[in-house]
Amino acid sequence: DAGVTQSPTHLIKTRGQQVTLRCSPKSGHDTVSWYQQALGQGPQFIFQYYEEEERQRGNFPDRFSGHQFPNYSSELNVNALLLGDSALYLCASSRTQAQYFGPGTRLTVL
């Protein structure tokens, strides 16, 4: 049974560009949450998707947007990248309260 998968593993972008990160949840999970983890910090909640709708959102600007597809996979889009967006982006899937994380996508903004 495959766990949560994310792609790509690493990504390098320049300021002002746009990026799309992808996540496939564990089999049987219908909820996907996205988190941003800066170096040396705990993950910060970005938003959560359930039934293809954004159910809850953290304190992130509108430059951060997402989508969930009918097969429960999800995308995170970040527009107008800033240097401060450099971080590990984590996807977590769940069916009940337990959230299981993927390996993350390391985004570097130059």
């Binding site: 040396g40 953290g58 959230q99």
Partner: protein, 114 residues
């Protein structure tokens, strides 16, 4: 009120010893408290979780102790091994339609010396 405070920031334990990490929260609406283990370059892995209707939960060498009145909870790693060296995060959330948003502590970097 949304914060979860974790201590210590770093911890060095001898092999076979007990590692203890503490967390405190403010929001009494929190009702789910997981602990995660994270190795460098990897995503956090769910270790063990507790709800406030019990005061202790044990899984293998890992035990969560929960004090609802003090709004504190802790992770105990018994017989600590070098392979336990990692960063540990406590978290809290509310279960239910508006639940799921995990609020994480700042993390504890554990080093177990052989």
């Amino acid at each position: 009120q949304q914060q979860v405070k974790q201590s210590p920031q770093s911890l060095i334990v001898q092999k076979g010893g007990i590692s203890i990490i503490n967390c405190a929260y403010e929001n009494t609406a929190f009702d789910y408290f997981p602990w995660y283990q994270q190795f460098p370059g990897k995503g956090p892995a769910l270790l063990i979780a507790i709800r406030p209707d019990v005061s202790e939960k044990k899984e293998g060498r890992f035990t969560i102790s929960f004090n609802k009145s003090a709004k504190q909870f802790s992770l105990h790693i018994m017989d600590s091994q070098p392979g336990d060296s990692a960063t540990y995060f406590c978290a809290a959330s509310r279960i239910g339609n508006q639940g799921g948003k995990l609020i994480f502590g700042q993390g504890t970097e554990l080093s177990v010396k052989p």
